[in-house]
């Protein structure tokens, strides 16, 4: 049963891909037929637009305190009220989307890129390459994530860019592990062997045959990791290693709001909800992308 699932892909194994058959059009086709995927895509798109146009969408300045109007509820001037020093919560949320989304995307992107390279090399070549890569994974993994991230940011220049890269540099081993396992699972399957036998080069073998077949769990992982990265950023910021006040990120807004949990819970709800919705969006979108790319599910 399992083998026939891969067979479809095998027939056009070494033909040059026709333009209409590209991954992008596959993706769109798959998304159109999946409601959840469309919702996910819309959420992500909306947030990306908000982040891009942040300066034009903010009703107020995100860093101008108004000490006569602290911790107020929603009003015409401040649609979501004000924070502990009288800044507009909505404006901070909007500006924060820039920072949090870039943190999520860059951190996950970096981690995913490194993890893919290491995992694929490890799984495909095996032998000493595998051993070396996995030793590296074990070494990186043996450090507590946050601790290693703190160390890396301290070595680089503390700041947002450093924090984003550092988060990528500490999370790649989990991707590498998963990718390696998947590659090892498919590399011995008949469609891969036959592609190789029909003269497929390594790169083409990877891009047309192996990677599309291993992406499902990786994409799910990546979409979940987004939320994680957004939260961990706030830890780094708290230690002065990430985004510095008065610049807002959802994570830092959340950790500041923690002090007001009982009396002004809404301060915590807004950034928390933003994170949940974005992660949900990426997750739904990731699922749809997986469906579109995974030959087994077509």
């Amino acid at each position: 049963m399992l083998e026939t699932a891969y067979v479809e892909q095998e027939f056009d194994s070494c033909d040059p891909a026709t333009p209409g058959d590209s991954a992008a059009s596959d993706l769109l086709r798959a998304l159109r037929s999946r409601k959840a995927g469309m919702i996910g895509l819309s959420i992500v798109a909306v947030f990306l637009v908000v982040a891009a146009l942040a300066p034009f969408l903010m009703p107020n300045s995100f860093d101008e305190p108004n000490l006569t109007k602290t911790l107020q509820g929603p009003s015409a001037q401040y649609p979501l009220g004000t924070d502990e020093i009288g800044r507009c919560v909505l404006s901070r949320l909007i500006y924060g989307s820039r920072i949090s989304l870039s943190v999520g995307l860059v951190a996950v992107g970096t981690g995913l890129a490194i993890g893919m390279v290491v995992g694929v090399a490890s799984g495909l070549f095996g032998g000493w390459v595998d051993q070396a890569c996995m030793t590296l994974v074990d070494i990186v993994w043996s450090f507590p994530t946050i601790l290693l991230a703190i160390g890396l940011v301290s070595v680089m220049k503390p700041g947002l860019a450093g924090a984003m890269i550092a988060l990528g540099l500490v999370t790649w081993p989990s991707y590498a592990r998963v990718v390696r396992g998947q590659v090892m699972a498919v590399r011995g399957l008949p469609f891969v062997l036959s592609a190789r036998a029909s003269g497929c080069g390594t790169l083409r073998l990877l891009s047309r045959h192996i990677i599309p077949n291993i992406m499902s769990p990786v994409l799910v992982m990546a979409s979940l990791e987004m939320g994680n990265a957004i939260i961990v950023e706030s830890t780094l910021s708290y230690l002065g290693l990430g985004v510095q006040p008065p610049y807002p990120s959802w994570g830092t807004m959340l950790s500041t709001a923690k002090n007001f949990t009982y009396d002004y819970p809404m301060l915590m709800v807004y950034p928390g909800a933003a994170i949940v919705v974005v992660v949900l969006g990426f997750n739904l979108f990731g699922d749809a992308v997986r469906d579109a790319l995974d030959p087994r599910l077509r």
Binding site: L67, T68, Y238, G240, Q244, P245, P246, Y262, D263
Partner: protein, 537 residues
């Protein structure tokens, strides 16, 4: 099929809950025994009275000879040579009286009779002398040694008389003797368990002569003290001078302040020594909780690296002082639970000098001074702070206020260890600091050139300041010292060495339904006086 499984699981859950509820050792046994209507001498011993106090952090050692860490423990386990009463006046402690020679150099202390350490050894002149010598012993490298830098030698005249000779007149000599670093440790125990013994002192053993005995310390969890039944030498400024009324004190370490508040509300903790200002209103509305507020011996200020441009220019420092709107900060950032600061010391101190004009918001004058100094459009600087929530909030407001005179700042946030090393390395430009201390010599600590580069983090090396401090500390009398410190403060205000911002308030919350006789001690956060405190079930 699936439905039936769910029902079965549900039943199982209910049963297991019932089972735990009925298990022996559950709530049933913890109920306090009903008190008999007429208490008889044969009545069973009452339930142990355990007072639980929350603390946000604990040090790595309780040996106050070797570390400068203070906790509430030090005020409860030890007695000091002199004590300070509720108004911070010096009162007898281990010494029942003292005399000073005319030249202010020889101090004679009469030691109270009948006191014993928790290990049974007597408290006498030799015990006190041993402690002074231990602090000054170079091999212990004690951070408290600076407190006794004027001490030349101490001599046991007879068992209950100690004579201390100073190198100079030092009218403030009683201040270090009353501090938390000056609790007299039992010599025998220190030699047995200290650095020359089993090295347990400070972690597993702490031995003094105070109202409580040290029981145990479980790191990052709790410190436990038990009543000293032999104690009958309470100071004359408490009502109950005999053994304390409670049996145990547990200091629970709870780093997160909102958790502390929740624990107080649920009754697991009786006392919070530091209440986060955002919780004050809610706790005040809780009928079971009493909130104590009072001015605190502390000061929060914006400091400058005075050896770096443009902060070398006194006009720039004055301009920054005028650019801050302290009243707005106290209201908006501290929710009126602080006072605007107009001087370099807490207003409660006799040495305090204030100058409102120099510390009042005047944006035009600030701009004018900046222009005179050659910065008509302002300048850029970094603004560093520790990651304490209030300080970060304050830094954000200071940034916005300085923006208005063209001073563009970039905030840098540090954790406490990172902040200390950042200041030691001298990388600071503008930075937020807060001290909590009840002696004018805090100015010596922070601003004397000998303290450069740390704790003199303002990098203030100034001969006039050094001279005034020296003259104050070696004045012939306390009044003379006070006058000199006043002169020093007027000079510092004139030089605008700091920008004082706020005077914090000391805020404690106590479970009034359980704790009786609580009184807030005005000095330092962790000092508690429990002689008159009682617990009701």
């Amino acid at each position: 099929m699936q439905k039936r499984a769910t029902v079965f699981l549900g039943c199982l859950l209910v049963l297991s809950l019932l089972a735990t509820g009925c298990a022996p050792g559950g709530k049933e046994t913890e109920k306090p025994a009903p008190t008999p209507a007429t208490p008889t001498p044969q009545a069973p011993p009452q339930q142990e009275k355990v007072l639980v106090i929350a603390q946000s952090r604990e040090g790595d050692n309780l040996d106050h000879i070797k570390t400068s860490w203070t906790t509430g423990i030090h005020f409860l386990v030890f007695d000091t040579v002199v004590t300070t009463d509720w108004d911070l006046k010096y009162k007898p402690g281990i010494a029942e009286s003292w005399e000073v020679s005319k030249d202010g150099r020889v101090w004679t202390f009469k030691i109270r009779k009948g006191m014993t350490f928790h290990d049974g050894t007597p408290v006498n002149a030799a015990a006190v002398k041993w402690f002074f010598d231990a602090v000054l012993n170079p091999s212990y490298n004690s951070p408290s040694a600076v407190d006794y830098e004027y001490m030349r030698n101490s001599r046991v005249v007879d068992e209950y008389t100690l004579e201390v000779t100073l190198s100079d007149s030092f009218p403030n000599f009683l201040s270090p003797l009353a501090s938390s670093y000056a609790g007299i440790i039992s010599r025998e125990s220190y030699q047995k368990y200290g650095p020359e013994g089993t090295k347990e002192y400070g972690t597993a053993k702490v031995v003094g002569s105070g109202p409580f005995k040290f029981v145990e310390w479980i790191p990052n969890d709790r410190m436990v003290l038990a009543k000293n039944p032999d104690y009958n030498w309470g100071p004359d400024w408490v009502s109950n001078r005999g053994p304390v009324k409670i049996d145990k004190v547990v200091w629970r370490t709870i780093p997160d302040s909102s958790t502390q508040v929740a624990e107080l509300e649920s009754g697991n903790v009786h006392v919070l020594l530091e209440v986060p200002i955002e919780s004050v209103e809610r706790l005040s509305n809780n009928p079971k909780v009493q909130v104590f507020k009072g001015p605190h011996f502390g000061l929060g200020y914006l400091a400058f690296a005075t050896d770096k441009k443009p902060f070398t220019d006194v006009r720039v420092r004055k301009a920054l002082n005028l650019a801050l709107n302290r009243e707005e900060i106290v209201h908006g950032v501290f929710r009126d639970l602080a006072l605007p600061a107009y001087g370099y010391l807490p207003p409660l101190m006799p040495e305090y000098v204030e100058d409102k004009a120099a510390h009042t918001y005047d944006i035009e004058q600030a701009k004018k001074l900046l222009a005179e100094a050659g910065y008509p459009t302002g300048f850029k600087a970094t603004l560093a702070t520790q990651n304490k929530a209030e300080h970060v909030r304050l830094a954000e407001v200071i940034k916005a206020q300085l923006d208005k005179v063209g001073v563009k700042t970039e905030i840098q946030v540090f954790d406490s260890a990172g902040y200390a090393s950042f200041l030691k390395e001298g990388k600071q430009e503008l930075f937020v600091r807060e001290y909590s201390y009840a002696d004018a010599n805090i100015l010596q600590w922070f601003l004397e050139s000998g303290q450069f580069p740390y704790p003199n983090h303002s990098r203030w090396k100034d001969q006039a300041t050094d001279r005034l401090i020296k003259e104050a500390e070696t004045a012939a009398s306390l009044e003379g010292r006070t006058q000199k410190y006043k002169e020093l403060q007027r000079y510092l205000i004139d030089q605008a060495v700091w920008a004082p911002v706020w005077v914090p308030m000391k805020i404690q919350a106590v479970r009034a339904d359980k704790v009786k006789g609580w009184r807030m001690y005005p000095q330092t956060i962790y000092k508690v006086v429990l002689n008159d405190v009682d617990l009701v079930p």
